[in-house]
Structure formats: structure tokens, C-alpha cells
């Protein structure tokens, strides 16, 4: 928290910038981390296969994917344990949620592979993290089981499934791959249909008869004229699949380039022949696709695999190449908010691929975004008003994430969100987060009603937007501090590990504010019942914990070093509050306890 007599204006983030992309950008991992990750996955693939011990210790799925996984290098991980390692142990969840283990180990030992082990190492290093580290992970109500796959994993999964089905149908692998892509990777249905009517399936997949008779090749045919470019030069190289539609190699290639590069097609490209539905098989493509296209082509082929499976989704982070598998179905989204975290550290909702929006269900998120967009003008008009000290009316600039403001001129302490006295905020009657409905008598006329509904919206919107903004400011401060800490390291001999509590605090703030932000969208749609108060209490407790930590975070660099233990304490308290809130909300969502003033589609 800092304040100044500043002539400029502080603006709440415009709702138009609240779209998924913007949210995602704020969550984008720093470049350094991404690079780290790349190095890690590179080294993982170039390493010899993992020891059997590691494989045996994996807790994974029952189906074929588990088998694929067992045969693979170490990249895929069961990440269920990544958040909230343990129901009783907050430290474990703090450390793991914030990837302390990952961060540390990458500096301590780049070769380390198993994040659980790394976490334990770290906990041994630091007295604050010493208890319960080795308890079994247990899943919280707000957590879902999921796995993260690298491009290689996805490729291997496909290959494995193709091989299985090929053996079953007694067909060559290329044809089987086409059949599977044609059948949108629904193995069971494809096999069933194939057994039912082989001819029809082959025909529809564009494979026609005699799939394996003399394979086509590029050749020059006497008297041939290409029907696309009208060239008929003797010796013109040409190609035709079994369907007999022959074109010159140049035209074939240009056709494929058009399909692959411009239209993003790969799995279901048809023969260029007029009216021919035969799908170009992998062998033909290998012959014809030029080297500048192969990468894109294979990427597209892989995309169809992930796109076709309901249980697989690409990580939406920019440039991220990982995919996540999660069993939560669309129809379950009113009961659960399936949040997953990618290898790249981006946390997102598997249901709608927006950035992590727990505890708010997807359909409410959609409504809320729409509402913010529709009402952006009103909200801007009100929010853009300069904030003044409620006592002396000096202009206040907010340049930290903390909402506890102190006026530089009159020393008045107040809350940035409700403009109320701060002294009232630390107490049991703190209710900055709660919207007080006016009694019916005060909202009799239509105008009064619409005014109250606008006030209600703004109450929640301002808090939503404020936590988003504050998260950004907290992050800015961390980056500044990070630089200072680097300097301090070299001048005072402090170790790199010793400054990590700041990173932990920063990440906790980000994560908690992300959660808080969405509690306000959630609360906006929540209809009052006996459970609402409990929710608001949890929200209040988390908010107070966050503001306390945030305030600490803005202390000067020389003070920070001495605050380590206190800060670690507050960090873990924040995370504990967050887990409590999310767990309670998720349980009640599952059990249909909440009542909403809109339909949960």
C-alpha cells in the first residue's frame, strides 16, 4: 500500500479487457520458466527410459493410456497431487501450488525428474516446511484428476492405438490410422461398424477396395496431360492414388499446401479429382508433402486426435504445446469446476478453457463476462471517477495491490474498495465484501429497483475488477523486489533459496486474488439462503488474509529479509483460507446446496 498526491487518475480495468485472452495473458508464465520447461522436456526425451521403480510408483489410469504411459519417458505426470498435496497439511499445498519444488530443484539439480522427491528435498532444507511432508496425497472437493501430455506422449498414444486396432482389423497401419481419424478416434464404435459392414466403412473413409495392392508411385506417363495446370510436357512427373485421378506432382503439392497451410486440413484431405471422396493416405502424403509442410502437417494430424477426444484439451496458454486429459464431462459442469494445471504452469478450467475461475461454475463465468461487457459503459463511468481520500479529498493513486490506503496528507486510513474506515476492517464486524440489500420499502419504484440492481452489480463488479488489478500490481512489485533480491544476494551473501519466500508469497497472492475475484462473480449470482453467510465469511477471511500479506509485501527491501518467517506464515495462512473456501464451495456445488438467481445451464 502506498499513496501519493497524484494528479493522474487510477482506472479500474475496463471490462472489455476482461476477456479470456487478457486473463490468459496475465497468467502467462514468464519466458524463463518456459525455457526451463523446454530444456527439461528435451532432456527427458533424450534420457534413457526411466527405472522400473518410478513406473511402479505411478498412480495412473486403468485403460490403455496407462499402458502407453508406462512405456514412455517421464514427461507425463499425474498432477492431481500438485495442488493441495494433503488435506491436513497446508505447507505441502502451499509449496506445491506455488511450484516451489519445481523452482528450487531446477536450480539445485537440473537432472531431477520426480517433483514429489524435489518437494521433499526442499522441505528438508527449510524448517518451515518440515512437517507431514510424506503423507499420502488426498483429493479435495475442488480438485479433479487429470494428466498432462507432451506432443510426444500424444504421438505415442496415437501410434499405440493405431497398432492395436490394426492388429485387430488386420489392416496396414496407414489405412488403420485413416480409419481411426475418420472415426474420430472412437475405437470401439469404429471396430463395431467395421465388423458390421467392412465395405461401407472402408468406402466412407475414402479407402475403397484393394487397399494394399501395388502401391502408387510418382511416375511419368506417356501422353499425360494434367487436368489442373494443363501441362503436357513429355516426362512430366505425376501421381495418382488407386482411384486413378492423376495429376502432375507440382499441382498435387500445391493442392496439399493449400489444404494444409491455408485450410488447416490434414486427416481428411480428399483426392483432388473432381467429385472423388477418397481420402489421401499417409503413404501418399509422405511421398508428396514437401519438407516445409511436414511439421505443420504432423501438428495438424496430432491436433485432430486431441480435438476429436472429449477427454483431451490443448492448454490454451500462448505457444504451449501440451495437452491435458480430464474425465469431467460437459454435463457435469454445473456441479464441478474442473481446474487443471499444465506443465507450463498455466491453470485453466478444463470445462471452458478460460483461466482458472474457481469457485465460479463455467456457465456463471460466461454470464458474468457477458454482463461485464454489456454494462461496461456504466461500470466505467462510475469506476473511472478518481478516488479521493474520503476525509481530505486529496487524489489518491494506487500503486500496490493492497487495499489498505493511508492518505499522505491527512493520514486517514481507509479501504480502497468500500472507501470505509480501515479500522473497521480488521474486526468481527468487517463486511466490506457483503452487499447489504436495502429493505423492500426503500426500493418501491421501478427506478429505485433498477438503481439498486445497478448498485448491487457494481458492488460485485468493483471487487472483481479490483482483485484483478491488485493481482497485477502485486506482480509488478514482486518483479521489482526480485531484482532487489538479486542485488542483495550478491552484496550480502544471502542464498538464492533464502529469497524464495518472496516468490512463494507473490504466487500465493496471485492465486488467492484470482480466487477472490471469482468469488465476487459467484456471489453476484448467489441467491440468499442459510449457506450464503458461511460463504461470505470464508470470502471475508480469505480477503483479510490476502490484504495482510499484500501489505507486508510492499515493505522496503531491507525490511523484507527480516520478515521471512512472518511472511511464510501469512503465505501459508492465505493458502489455507483459499483451500477452505474452495473446498466448502465445491462440496456445496456438488451437493446442490447453493441457490442461484439464474439457471445453471
Amino acid at each position: 500500500m502506498r499513496q501519493s498526491l497524484f494528479a493522474g487518475r487510477w482506472r479500474i480495468r475496463l471490462p472489455s479487457s476482461l476477456d479470456g485472452a487478457a486473463l490468459r495473458v496475465t497468467k502467462t508464465p514468464p519466458v524463463t520458466r518456459k525455457r526451463k520447461l523446454d530444456t527439461a522436456s528435451l532432456s527427458a526425451t533424450s534420457q534413457p527410459p526411466p527405472e522400473p521403480k518410478r513406473k511402479a510408483s505411478k498412480t495412473t489410469h486403468k485403460d490403455s493410456i496407462a499402458q502407453v504411459e508406462a512405456a514412455l519417458p517421464a514427461t507425463p505426470q499425474t498432477l492431481t497431487s500438485d495442488k493441495g498435496m494433503d488435506s491436513d497439511d497446508d505447507f505441502a499445498s502451499v509449496a506445491s501450488s506455488m511450484e516451489l519444488g519445481e523452482e528450487l530443484s531446477s536450480s539445485v539439480d537440473f537432472g531431477a525428474e520426480d517433483s514429489d522427491v524435489e518437494l521433499e528435498d526442499y522441505q528438508d532444507d527449510d524448517s518451515a516446511f518440515e512437517t507431514h511432508a510424506k503423507q499420502k496425497p488426498k483429493r479435495k472437493a475442488f480438485e479433479v484428476e487429470y494428466k498432462v501430455y507432451s506432443p510426444q506422449d500424444i504421438q505415442d498414444q496415437q501410434d499405440k492405438q493405431v497398432a492395436e486396432v490394426a492388429a485387430l482389423l488386420e489392416q496396414p497401419t496407414e489405412q488403420t490410422a485413416i480409419l481411426l481419424r475418420f472415426g474420430r478416434w472412437n475405437k470401439e464404435r469404429l471396430i463395431e461398424q467395421y465388423m458390421d459392414n467392412q465395405e461401407e466403412v472402408l468406402d466412407k473413409a475414402g479407402l475403397g477396395q484393394n487397399m494394399s495392392s501395388n502401391p502408387p508411385r510418382i511416375e511419368a506417363i506417356d501422353g499425360f496431360m494434367c487436368d489442373i495446370c494443363c501441362e503436357d510436357t513429355p516426362g512430366l512427373q505425376s501421381y495418382a492414388m488407386n482411384c486413378g485421378h492423376r495429376f502432375c506432382v507440382d499441382c498435387y503439392r500445391q493442392y496439399l499446401a493449400q489444404k494444409v497451410r491455408e485450410e488447416g486440413e490434414a486427416a481428411r484431405i480428399k483426392c483432388p479429382g473432381d467429385g472423388c471422396n477418397k481420402i489421401i493416405d499417409v503413404k501418399s502424403l509422405d511421398l508428396l508433402v514437401t519438407s516445409d509442410l511436414t511439421d505443420r502437417y504432423h501438428e495438424l494430424l496430432m491436433r485432430t486426435y486431441v480435438d476429436d477426444k472429449e477427454s483431451l484439451k490443448w492448454c490454451p496458454a500462448p505457444n504451449c504445446v501440451y495437452a491435458v486429459e480430464c474425465g469431467v464431462k460437459k454435463r457435469e459442469l454445473a456441479k464441478i469446476v474442473p481446474t487443471v494445471q499444465c506443465e507450463c504452469k498455466h491453470s485453466f478450467c478444463f470445462g471452458c478453457t478460460q483461466a482458472d475461475h474457481q469457485p465460479c461454475p463455467c456457465s456463471l463465468v460466461k454470464r458474468w463476462m457477458k454482463k461485464c461487457e454489456d454494462d461496461s459503459e456504466t461500470a466505467n463511468w462510475i469506476s473511472a471517477n478518481t478516488k479521493e481520500c474520503p476525509k481530505c479529498h486529496s487524489t489518491i493513486e494506487k500503486n500496490g495491490g493492497c487495499n489498505h490506503m493511508t492518505c499522505r496528507k491527512c493520514r486517514n486510513e481507509f479501504c480502497w474498495m468500500c472507501m470505509g474506515m480501515w479500522s473497521e476492517h480488521g474486526t468481527s464486524w468487517y463486511n466490506c465484501n457483503r452487499f447489504e440489500e436495502k429493505s423492500g420499502s426503500e426500493a418501491r419504484t421501478e427506478q429505485a429497483k433498477s438503481r439498486q440492481s445497478l448498485e448491487r452489480y457494481l458492488h460485485y463488479y468493483n471487487r472483481f475488477a479490483n482483485h484483478e488489478q491488485s493481482a497485477k500490481l502485486d506482480k509488478d512489485i514482486f518483479h521489482k523486489t526480485e531484482k532487489k533480491m538479486t542485488l542483495l544476494q550478491s552484496s550480502s551473501g544471502m542464498s538464492w533459496i533464502e529469497v524464495q519466500f518472496l516468490e512463494a508469497a507473490s504466487q500465493a497472492l496471485q492465486q488467492c486474488r484470482q480466487t477472490l475475484k471469482w468469488t465476487y462473480a459467484f456471489a453476484y449470482y448467489l441467491a440468499r439462503n442459510s449457506q450464503t453467510e458461511m460463504f461470505e465469511d470464508n470470502q471475508k477471511d480469505l480477503e483479510m488474509a490476502v490484504e495482510n500479506l499484500s501489505e507486508m509485501f510492499e515493505k522496503s527491501t531491507d525490511q523484507l529479509a527480516g520478515l521471512k518467517v512472518d511472511m511464510l506464515d501469512k503465505t501459508s495462512y492465505c493458502m489455507r483460507r483459499r483451500v477452505i473456501l474452495l473446498d466448502d464451495t465445491a462440496k456445496k456445488l456438488k451437493e446442490d446446496v447453493w441457490e442461484f438467481n439464474v439457471e445453471l445451464a
Binding site: I228, E262, E263, D274
Partner: protein
Amino acid sequence: MAGNKRIMKELAEVRTNPPPGCTVTLADENDMGTWDAVMDGPPDSPYTGGHYKIQITLPKEYPFKPPQLSFKTKIYHPNVSNDDRGAMCLGMLRPDEWKPPNKIADVLRLVRSVLAAPQPDDAVEQGIADQFKNDRKSFDKVAKEWVGRYAK
């Protein structure tokens, strides 16, 4: 570029042996990319006696990308947009259905068959399509009026 020899050949063919009821010229003799076709309204249709100017634009990727087609003469028809684009929605011209061996003459033949037999279930002008389905008499009447007003 595969296009040039192919386009010249196509143009020569369509000039010497045009699809029924069509004449084709280049909008500009130095630009092979824009063709002007004039199509006579098919017999036994409300468009009989009308002459429709249709502009055909070949993208630089032609024939790997489909040509674009636009009615320059107003026509009252469920499948032609009633605006200055005069767009006609033809399955054949969709990127996923177009095949490079397809010719502009084929496109023109298809256009003429759609003039003769509108496809109201695949309409760009829903109002006209509904009228075509439910009140053919009024539809024919307006279509003929438009021939007189715009297509003579």
C-alpha cells in the same frame, strides 16, 4: 504458377464453346483474373428474357482456390443476395468442396441450373425462399417484374 496456361485454355474453351445461354469476356484484356459473363434467363423460368451480368473473380491461387462470383444485375431469387454484392451461395464454390480440376464453365452451368430451379432450403434470402415455397404465384410475379425493371 500453374494458373496461366490453365486459365488461357479455359478461357479459349469457354469462348469458342460457351455453356448454353452464356457469353464470356475478359473485363480487361490485360487481366486474366476478372471475367465478365452474361447469362440469359433460362427458358420456362420467371427469368426468361432477362440478361444477367455475372462477374467472376479468380483468386491468385486459382484453381486451387475457388473463383468468386457476383451478380451485377439485380435478380429476385432465393439463392442470390439482394444487395450490391449479389452473392450466390453455391456448394461447389465452398473451399472444402471445390476441386482444382473444376472449371468456370462448370460453375456457369450450375448457376444457370439454379436459376431454373431455385433451392429454397439453401437460401441466402430467407424471405424470398419462404415466398417461393408458400406462394409461388406472387414469387413468379415479383421475379418477372424485376426482369423487366433490371434485366432487360
